[in-house]
Point group: C2
């Protein structure tokens, strides 16, 4: 294998660039990670449920980094009507993201029942918008549904939607289970699946003790990771990169303990949980190259990061946007520590570890 790889413009078909000061900090890192086209998630506060809000957000991202092609999405919500879909299509919005209520960061405005959205999906099918699914059902102890099998329980919904809307392009986002890979593989070509970099590396063993590895869906068993790796290795064009890069302030990735006194002098304590998300944008394409090489799939890198997703979405790579990667030498490729912005600090995935590939500037 050569020490250099040249890729047609890589695309990340699932990325969170947030808002406010965090947006200012992380948006420029998308290009630094080797990505030329970024498909942007709409789960802001409040969520982006109107074409106008999405268009305004896109202008903000273009102001911060005009070098990246920003592809925009709406947040599936009762405010998103068939008329709004037609308006969105005219404005160049590419897709609609569905979050099951309460399952992931900022998903409290998410959905629980797809039936009510069938007219919306019909309009999306007609207008050529893509449906992006966060494929987890809410936990339910009575039914033994937890973060471990929430994705597996979702798959019947994916099958139903694929059956009911055969011309709607549907993406199961950030698959984490062997069952998801099997189901997506069995469905027609209108159904595809994004895979993150971190789920090609982590298992539950590395998540349980480390909040910086905690995300939704949670990384599962070794056999599941193997199934994701095998999906990439197969070269099946249904599977492509969507990083789900999801920065959180450092403070929200540690349990925070607040101890105060109430008015009557009695003590009050609250202990916060850690936010869900792994931040990979700044190192994304070198990381994916490093991981694919580790499990013998480096020859599938171009398909996974440049070709498959673009073909599915119909977003061709632009000329002159190739990315060149080179093998790192001994003293190269060490992933840096935190990124600091105006009052906000985030830790990238793999901080302190060594990448086997780097971007040639």
């Amino acid at each position: 294998m050569s020490d250099e790889i040249t890729l047609p413009a890589p695309a990340d078909f699932h990325v969170h660039v947030r808002q406010g000061k965090m947006c200012e900090l992380v948006t420029p890192q998308v290009a630094k990670g080797g990505v030329k086209t970024a498909y942007v998630m709409p789960n802001l506060v409040p969520p982006l449920t109107s074409t106008d809000s999405v268009v305004a957000y896109k202008a903000e991202l273009e102001r911060i980094d005009p070098s990246v092609e920003w592809l925009m999405t709406l947040y599936l919500h009762p405010e998103v009507t068939p008329d709004e879909i037609r308006k969105a299509a005219k404005a160049g919005i590419k897709g609609v993201k569905s979050y099951p209520r309460g399952v992931t960061t900022n998903s409290n405005s998410g959905i629980e029942d797809y039936g009510v959205y069938y007219p919306v999906f019909k309009a999306m099918e007609e207008e050529g918008l893509v449906l992006n699914l966060h494929g987890e059902v809410p936990s339910d102890a009575e039914k033994n549904i937890s973060v471990l099998n929430a994705e597996v329980h979702f798959l019947r919904h994916l099958e139903t939607l694929a059956h009911d809307f055969p011309k709607l392009r549907i993406v199961l986002e950030h698959a984490t289970t062997s069952a998801a890979i099997t189901t997506v593989s069995s469905l027609p070509s209108n159904v595809a699946c994004s895979i993150t970099a971190h789920h090609l590396f982590l298992t539950i063993d590395e998540v349980a003790p480390q909040p910086h590895h905690f995300c939704k869906p949670i990384a599962k068993e070794p056999k599941d990771r193997k199934a994701l790796q095998d999906a990439v290795k197969s070269g099946n064009p249904k599977f492509f990169l969507g990083s789900d890069s999801a920065p959180h302030p450092l403070s929200s990735k540690s349990p925070s303990i607040t101890q105060t006194q109430t008015e009557d002098g009695s003590p009050s304590t609250s202990v916060s949980a850690c936010a869900a998300g792994v931040y990979t944008s700044p190192i994304l394409i070198p990381l994916v190259a490093t991981l694919l090489e580790s499990f013998g799939a480096l020859d599938k890198l171009q398909g996974f990061v440049s070709d498959h997703g673009r073909t599915f979405y119909g977003i061709p790579a632009k000329e002159g946007q190739q990315l060149k990667l080179r093998k790192t030498k001994d003293d190269e490729g060490l992933v840096r520590g935190t990124f600091k912005g105006d009052g906000v600090e985030v830790l990238p995935f793999w901080a302190g570890k060594k990448l086997a590939w780097q971007i040639v500037e």
Copy 2:
């Protein structure tokens, strides 16, 4: 049901009271949690592999709190010979704890292969010492063994030991799976099982985002928690309280990021994982009462915390050591925040939450 319960002296058949300043801080909390007899784990640094070191540790605990009956254990290790077992029995040591290597806190000196210890187990059988098993095998991605199924994979070792040493009393410690409950229930009366308070409450959903809920074995699925609750509810004397109360300094329950410069000026980053352990000692018996009441097993409280373990170990409750609990009123039962000692701070489980029962002083 009455608003008061009087229990024969409760016992905790699995507790970590650590060493040094942490030991000074947490040891007095054992009695505060309503426990009169405590079965103490030997995983200090270095581990307690000799009778002499155990006897010295017991003297230390008696110095700090002479009101508690401290039952002591050896750490299974090549230094623990059949002769050492006979010496330990004479010194009043009650059992030997086995840790699979690398599975839990301070278990680097643990064991991997039971075959080499058969002469030791034979001596334990003869001398009446109990074998306490941390029932997990090490993770192994090739075999799809992770923290999720490490206990299930251990159960065949438990069955083999129970078969090979029919007169050795064996305790599967801190069971977390439905499979463990089924296996222990099927084995003869020389095999018993301790259950923690926190595993009667947590599932993986509450562990993933919260390092203060992370312990080994990790809490599993809702169906597993249900199996533990049902085991308590059954009143089967094989199942009794062993809290696995395991304090860690606050600083080791958050991911710690160290960013330095190496000698040549290049940056170096390391990100530490969180320590495994849930600290329940200070609220133990009121917490267990609260939990058992929540799933309709309050009538089994005395068996679970006072009778079953004592019968199995042959440690009768002393006269005059009853514990009286009373229902909390509106402004009572709030679990306090951190405990601070000399340079060490620990957070109890359920901090900020309300207990339904309290100890009558």
